[in-house]
């Protein structure tokens, strides 16, 4: 077997805060202060320039001592939370940015689905953009000529091909852009979380293209937060944590390690005093958390395990008729349910009137409830027909991983936002 990618002791260091002043002028005063400080800034910049290579106080390693080899024709998944270095790794592999230390050897052309639409110019027509984009992605014009019809077919923009793309709907634009990227035939394909953009149909196309590429014996690197997609499409995966490669294993094992090592995203929303409008008084939200079975705050929950949602809040005075609850919806904006802590009449009897103090309202969502994807949690605290104290429709979001859920032995996307484990009985009648 030939090695397609060989990474040795790769590291990438970024400077934080050096030379990147964000010009955020909120007030006229800031502009004046900033202007007066100009000589100081120029002086510092010049000194910084002349001390090239000197120690900068704030640096961090986005990637640290990464080594791995990948054989030709293999599909490798890369998992890790935001900031773990996944994107940096892909950027180095596709030569967008240089590593600070270490070496990589890459056999063949690296193409990436994260470059969708790069270099598209709104004033140019679909046809012109296909050629332009193809050239940017490194295709020869003879190659584009050859694939032109195929690209147009795939994009389904047919009759609009000679219309400037600024007149396209966003769906058409995305389809055309993806069609070009998908027809680049790189030896190595790199796929980042593009699957997060676009509708379900687009995602299906992306995944389909990826498995085609893999079946043609090309090498694929696949980064995603979507564990079921990783499980479906890759045989092997690496787990990155704070720039380090902490695990390389067959996908199922790597994903299990990642999910159970508790390094998933925050899964918690904390309200600072200034986030809370004065009109909410006397109700004051403190935090909302998503917890897994072992009471750990998590961003990704497993569909096969129960989930706990807890909302902590402070009452600065007593409130009568209070109900504290949540809306749950999908990222596409469909509501899944709405529920309050005093939905139970007996509970309302007991807690309808609450004295000042700190409270937690906690509920358990049973196992085998969610389908895969990302869900949005909104919160609401009100007294029915009297007053709505506090509402935030976008308080927190979380991922659901469906490993082991009903029907996951078929690699397909299931419609619907819930994935219940139903009690099927099969009877033979004759």
């Amino acid at each position: 077997m030939t090695t397609a990618i060989s990474v040795k002791n790769l590291g990438k260091q970024y400077k934080i805060g050096a030379a990147q002043q964000k010009f955020q002028y909120n007030m006229f005063r800031d502009v004046i202060v900033d202007t007066l400080m100009t000589p100081v800034r120029v002086f510092r910049a010049l000194r910084g320039q002349s001390m090239r290579g000197a120690i900068t106080t704030s640096t961090f390693w986005a990637l640290n001592d990464i080594s791995f080899d990948l054989e030709e024709g293999k599909v490798l998944g890369i998992v890790g939370r935001n900031g773990a270095g996944k994107s940096t790794l892909l950027k180095i592999l596709s030569r967008v940015t240089e590593p600070t230390v270490g070496t990589v050897s890459v056999r063949g052309r690296v193409g990436s689905l994260l470059e969708v639409g790069t270099g598209f110019h709104p004033e140019l027509t679909g046809r012109e953009n296909i050629y332009m984009n193809g050239a940017i992605l490194g295709m020869k014009s003879a190659e584009i000529d050859r694939k032109f019809d195929e690209i147009v077919d795939f994009s389904e923009v047919g009759q609009f091909i000679d219309t400037p793309v600024k007149r396209y709907s966003s769906g058409m634009y995305l389809r055309l852009a993806f069609a070009v990227a998908a027809h680049l035939e790189p030896e190595i394909l790199v796929v980042d979380e593009v699957l997060a953009v676009g509708d379900a149909e687009f995602q299906r196309k992306c995944l389909g293209k990826m498995s085609d590429v893999a079946q043609q014996g090309r090498t694929v690197l696949f980064v995603s937060h979507n564990m079921s997609a990783i499980l479906r499409l890759t045989q092997e995966a690496i787990v990155l944590k704070k720039g380090q490669l902490i695990k390389r294993a067959p996908t199922a094992e790597a994903v299990d390690y990642y999910l159970s090592s508790g390094q998933a995203e925050s899964g918690e929303r904390i309200w600072e005093a200034e986030d809370v409008p004065a009109a909410s008084a006397p109700f004051r939200p403190v935090a909302i958390r998503i917890k897994d079975r072992s009471d750990k705050v998590v961003d990704t929950v497993r569909s096969t395990e129960p989930v706990t949602v807890e909302w902590e809040y402070q009452l600065d005075a007593s409130i009568t008729g209070l109900r504290v609850g949540m809306y749950l919806s999908t990222m596409r904006g469909e509501y899944v349910f709405t529920a309050f802590d005093t939905d139970d009449a007996a509970q309302f009897e007991q807690f309808g009137a609450r004295k000042a103090g700190r409270y937690i309202s906690r509920c358990h969502i049973p196992a085998d409830f969610f389908n895969e994807g990302r869900y949005l949690l909104g919160v609401n605290a009100s007294s029915f027909a009297v007053k709505r104290y506090f509402m935030d429709e976008n308080a927190l979001s979380f991922n659901v991983d469906i490993t082991g859920a009903p029907g996951t032995h078929w690699p397909e996307i299931r419609q619907g936002s819930i994935r219940p484990r139903l009690d099927w009985k099969i009877e033979k009648l004759d």
């Binding site: 970024y14 030379a19 990147q20 910049a45 950027k91 180095i92 592999l93 596709s94 030569r95 967008v96 940015t97 240089e98 590593p99 600070t100 230390v101 270490g102 070496t103 990589v104 050897s105 890459v106 056999r107 063949g108 052309r109 690296v110 990436s112 994260l114 470059e115 790069t118 270099g119 110019h121 004033e123 140019l124 012109e128 050629y131 332009m132 050239a135 940017i136 992605l137 490194g138 020869k140 014009s141 050859r146 195929e150 035939e185 030896e187």
Partner: protein
């Protein structure tokens, strides 16, 4: 899928570049189609959604010529060389000057306005400023037609020298513009101050170049210092080749050529050296 071309993939080694990066002009050759497409794109979109379209390529130098003729020709009564009428005298200079300024304006922004390309994909970044500079040639050619009209009107015939001299002086303009543009575009990635400084820079540069006046007004002892400005050499060369006035290639011209090459080569190295951090700092 019609056919699959089987070819042995080349292996690319990625490692941190030490010191001044090699120029790696081979990459530019591999990406030559991209250069062509970028020039084509710049030309295609330049006058999109304007009413006058490519006529702007003519309007700009012609209006400047009229203003100059009125201010410097009529009011200030600046002399021209060899009694050439002032309008054609200034227009001949405005052609390369316009090309130069447009190239600087376009090219200094070429990296920042293509931010998503720079931060997402690999290609030799040199393609962007190069394409911006070269795409200005089309405006130059359009504006040149007016010059031919003026020459017929004023009964001025160019000497035979124009055949070899004009392309060479045009090349000198491109070299100078590209050299300065490489510096400016690379600096602009980190310090957007370039956008604000450029208008002043081109204005001062205009005064230091014999566009509105004749370089014979410069006293003899300052001549050599004056030719440190490559654009002075270009403008004198254009007038000599097209109108047959002033001196032909002399020592001053060689200084101009030398300076232009120094700017270009230093610009190339600076650009290549900054290139590796473009994606991180842009």
């Amino acid at each position: 899928m019609t056919e699959i071309i089987k070819h042995e993939p080349t292996t690319i080694y990625i490692k941190p570049s030490k010191g001044f990066a090699a120029l790696n002009l081979r990459d530019m050759w591999i990406y030559r189609e991209l250069i062509y497409f970028m020039i084509w794109r710049e030309i295609k979109v330049r006058y999109k959604q304007t009413m006058l379209g490519a006529a702007w390529a003519i309007i700009q130098p012609v209006l400047t010529m009229i203003v100059f003729t009125f201010l410097f020709g009529r009011i200030a009564k600046l002399p021209t060389d060899g009694n050439v009428p002032y309008p054609i005298f200034s227009y001949t200079a405005l052609l390369p000057w316009g090309l130069f300024v447009a190239a600087l304006n376009q090219a200094s922004r070429s990296l920042t306005s293509n931010q998503n390309m720079v931060s997402k994909i690999y290609f030799p970044r040199l393609v962007l400023p190069l394409a911006s500079v070269l795409s200005g040639l089309i405006d130059f050619i359009i504006a040149f037609v007016i010059l031919i009209g003026l020459m017929i009107y004023y009964h001025i015939a160019p000497s035979i020298n124009v055949l070899w001299a004009l392309p060479l002086f045009l090349l000198l303009t491109i070299i100078t513009a590209l050299g300065v543009a490489l510096w400016l575009s690379a600096i602009n990635v980190q310090y957007r101050d370039v956008n604000y400084a450029l208008p002043f820079m081109t204005q001062f540069w205009l005064f230091a170049t014999p566009v509105a006046y004749s370089s014979s007004l410069i006293s003899e002892k300052w001549r050599l210092v004056y030719s440190l400005n490559p654009m002075a050499g270009v403008v004198n060369g254009f007038r000599w080749a097209l109108l047959g006035v002033g001196n032909g290639p002399d020592a001053g011209l060689w200084i101009s050529v030398g300076i232009a090459l120094i700017i270009l080569i230093s610009g190339l190295f600076y650009f290549r050296n900054m290139e590796k951090t473009f994606a991180d700092t842009i």
